[in-house]
Amino acid sequence: MAESVKDMTKEFEENGSSLWKDAWIKLSKNHMALFGLSVLVILIVSSLLTPWIAPYNYEAQDLDLGATAPSMAHWLGTDIFGRDMLTRIMYGGRVSLMVGFIATAVALVIGILWGAVAGFFGGRVDALMMRIVDILYALPFMIFIVLLMVVFGRNILLLFLAIGAVEWLTMARIVRGQVMALRNLEFVEAANSLGLSQWTIIRRHIIPNTLGPVIVYTTLTIPSVMLLEAFLSFLGLGIQPPESSWGLLINYGVETMEEYPWLLIFPGIALSLTLFALNFLGDGLRDALDPRTSKD
């Protein structure tokens, strides 16, 4: 049977008429989404290449220089320790984007699977799985993170996992609600009467139909995860100076907002730009993955 499923996937790829291929064609015609996608690609590529293209060393201080406004030497100015802001924002982007994407990916995978299984099977399975979600919801988030940090030591990867492990709860609930509405529709019953296995039905018929709300929620989760990281770092549980992240830079920027506004403005712009790009891309993806929106 696994063989035939593989055949199926291969066949759809060859015929070029799968949802994903059509979605890509539609997405490539959506200018806003393409703009969002290119901004994200530029941000990701530049943060990958940061160690080689950054103009200065991110921890090299120049106390004599202090905080200076943007100039030819320092395009985005320097902070109170005389460190180049452009460099620090680039290094900060590495951490922020990584937190945003990895933690959200963790939340996405666990949340969709958990929610789809609970919603699809219903009854006792659903009750048990959702009570687990409720218990985790009730667990104070901060204590959970602090405990993790105490037990395993401060570790950036652990931070990603911890944030992801909290964010998936909401995703699971959204997906479960969607699935419960879907599983009573006749096309799911039709799939049942064809004898498809439960897992095939979930994978091919249920999950693709939950994508709309999931994508919207994902684009909202990524920025909120980035801010969560800033909050944790501020409490000393995440990234520590001299390393930086956008959230951390914004936090410090707020303190000196009146004297040195550029310390707040530029990391703020970087974060907002990411947020906008994600929203455009998310809306575009949602429309592209819904065949009911017109193709042109």
Binding site: M1, S4, V5, D7, M8, K10, E11, F12, E14, N15, S17, S18, L19, D22, L185, E186, F187, E189, A190, A191, N192, S193, L194, G195, L196, S197, Q198, T200, R204, H205, P208, N209, L289, D290, P291, R292, S294
Partner: protein, 549 residues
């Protein structure tokens, strides 16, 4: 004098894909005490015509482009929002199609009934609560709600569909309107209830001398109650005239097509079954559900007996019609036979193999031999799968095709169900209801099954499309030597298609027999009632029937 005179009405929808002329140059008039029927298939503009009179259309995209609608000499199309509210409150009332969704579930029926009286926009005409309640109770009595005094404080969910539609009628009449617009008021109801509601509307109209505009897709429903009929198609009037003229001296080709499409008379193809060979044997089957609606009730563990001790056989090559009203358990019986609903007791045998008690895995090889066609072609196809994916899934999953020859097989299926091969790459939403049902039928016959259960496969379709799909089903049954169980609430359809009929009510079989024998000589009172309630597309016979009741 005509109470409503519509002249040259044009309503266009301005969409992204251009202008859709929903109503194009429509003129008609209605007198007091007269019933005008507007008949047309979906998309004909019959509802848009009436909603535009009451300013109930979403604007934009809808826009009234021209024409006048004089109600007692005042133009409804140009009057202000305040005047329109006055008209809606005093003179014109609407009864909607679905009594399940047109009442607010959080308010008692009585509260909703007296709303227009105690919150009347004109303060002078507002009535006190006791007076309004008195009036509402009188009216509930008039529309046939038993024990109206107590039912006044009931919530909508405590009424059945037919009773709710009676409440809706009372609600429409409470302001004593001069014009009543009924938008498919009986489409969502069972056939016996439909007959009662039609009778009620007719009777109320005569006693109150209101003008009625009756919108329907069903010429049969209209025959008994209309004085005049308008046939609409694609936004224009195709034919207009008095009822007898439309039915007996039909002029227009489209009207003829509509009349021809009504399934009437016995099945014309031969019965291919051989009684000796039973494909399906159902023995004392019971399917019970736990009753979850009575939370306050003390009796824990009460069951709804959807299918209660049913035994039947289906011979190879036979089309068995299963008829019942909503809640009779006919769909549950179908799903129980296919092992899609968990059975409580009894056995189902298919090709001498007992299916009850098999695990899902053991059922897989049997699944491809038994298939199902569903009622709603909008819900039975995965909106995110192309036709190609939908049709190839069963073939590939059951290993009946390889990636090399799948394209050929799917194209073959498209031919079988009468769809163009060029449409393989399209998604379900790009098809009409009839075409979608063809796709669903294609999926059901993909695995070359022996047995198909069709659950109301044509009830969501227009009458001309319905005729096409029925013929397609008959054709496929013939060609692929299928055995079928055809579930429907519509007796005429079942008579047209099946060799044998089973009548079901409240989970048990009321009567069964060869189609024509049962038709000619029904024994059970329930069957007699059911047969008597079928609306006929014959005004004289229909009027006589209503008067005889």
């Amino acid at each position: 004098m005509a109470i409503l005179e519509v002249d040259g009405l044009k309503v266009y929808f301005h969409t992204r894909n251009g202008v859709v002329k929903a109503v194009d140059d429509v003129s008609f008039s209605v007198d007091s005490g007269e019933t005008l029927a507007i008949v047309g298939e979906s998309g004909s503009g019959k509802s848009v015509t009436c909603y535009s009179l009451l300013d109930l259309l979403p604007k934009p995209p809808a826009k009234v482009e021209g024409g006048t609608a004089l109600f007692n000499g005042k133009d409804l199309l140009t009057c202000s929002a305040a005047e329109m509210r006055k008209h809606r409150c005093n003179d014109i009332a609407v009864i909607f199609q679905d009594p399940m969704t047109s009442l607010n579930p959080f308010l008692t029926v009585g509260e909703q009934l007296i709303e227009p009286l105690i919150y009347h926009p004109n303060r002078d005409q507002r009535q006190t609560r006791p007076a309004a309640k008195q009036k509402a109770i009188t009216l509930l009595n008039e529309v046939g709600i038993i024990d109206a005094e107590n039912r006044f404080d009931s919530y909508p969910h405590e009424f059945s569909g037919g009773m709710r539609q009676r409440v809706m009628i009372a609600m429409a009449l409470i302001t004593e309107p001069k014009l009543l617009i009924c938008d498919e008021p009986t489409t969502a109801l069972d056939v016996t209830i439909q007959a009662q509601i039609l009778e009620l509307i007719k009777q109320l109209q005569q006693t109150r001398n209101v003008a009625v505009i009756f919108i329907s897709h069903d010429l049969g429903v209209v025959a008994g109650i209309a004085d005049k009929v308008i046939v609409m198609c694609e936004g224009t009037i195709r034919e207009t005239g008095d009822t007898d003229g439309i039915f007996y001296r039909t002029q227009n080709d489209y009207t003829k097509k509509l009349l021809d499409a009504i399934p009437e008379g016995p099945k014309t193809t031969l019965n291919r079954s051989h009684d000796s060979d039973n494909l399906v044997v159902v023995n004392h089957l019971k399917t019970y559900f736990k009753d979850q609606s009575h939370i306050k009730g003390s009796a824990g563990g009460r069951f709804i007996k959807a299918v209660d001790d049913i035994s039947l056989t289906i011979a190879r090559g036979e089309i068995l019609g299963l008829v019942g009203e909503s809640g009779s358990g006919k769909s549950t019986l179908g799903r129980s036979i296919l092992q899609l609903a968990p059975t409580t007791e009894g056995t189902v045998k298919f090709q001498n193999q007992t299916l009850t008690g098999l695990s899902p895995k053991q059922l897989v090889p049997w699944r491809k031999k038994m298939q199902m066609i569903f009622q709603d072609p909008y819900a039975s196809l995965n909106p995110r799968m192309t036709v190609f994916e939908t049709l190839s899934e069963p073939l590939l999953y059951h290993g009946m095709a390889t990636s090399k020859n799948i394209g050929h097989q799917v194209r073959q299926l498209m031919d079988d169900v009468g769809l163009a091969q060029s449409q393989l790459r399209k998604y379900p939403h790009e098809f009409s209801g009839g075409q979608r049902q063809r796709i669903a039928i294609g999926r059901a016959i993909a695995t070359k099954p022996d047995f198909i259960i069709a659950d109301e496969p044509v009830s969501a379709l227009d009458v001309t499309i319905q005729a096409q799909i029925l013929d397609l089903i008959l054709n496929l049954v013939e060609r692929h030597n299928l055995t079928m169980m055809f579930i429907s609430h519509d007796l005429s359809v079942v008579r047209y298609i099946s060799d044998r009929i089973i009548i079901m009510n409240r989970g048990v079989i009321v009567e069964q027999g060869k189609t024509e024998a049962l038709w000619a000589n029904p024994k059970a009172p329930y069957t007699k009632n059911l047969l008597a309630a079928i609306p006929l597309a014959d005004p004289v016979a229909e009027r006589a029937r209503i008067n005889n009741r």
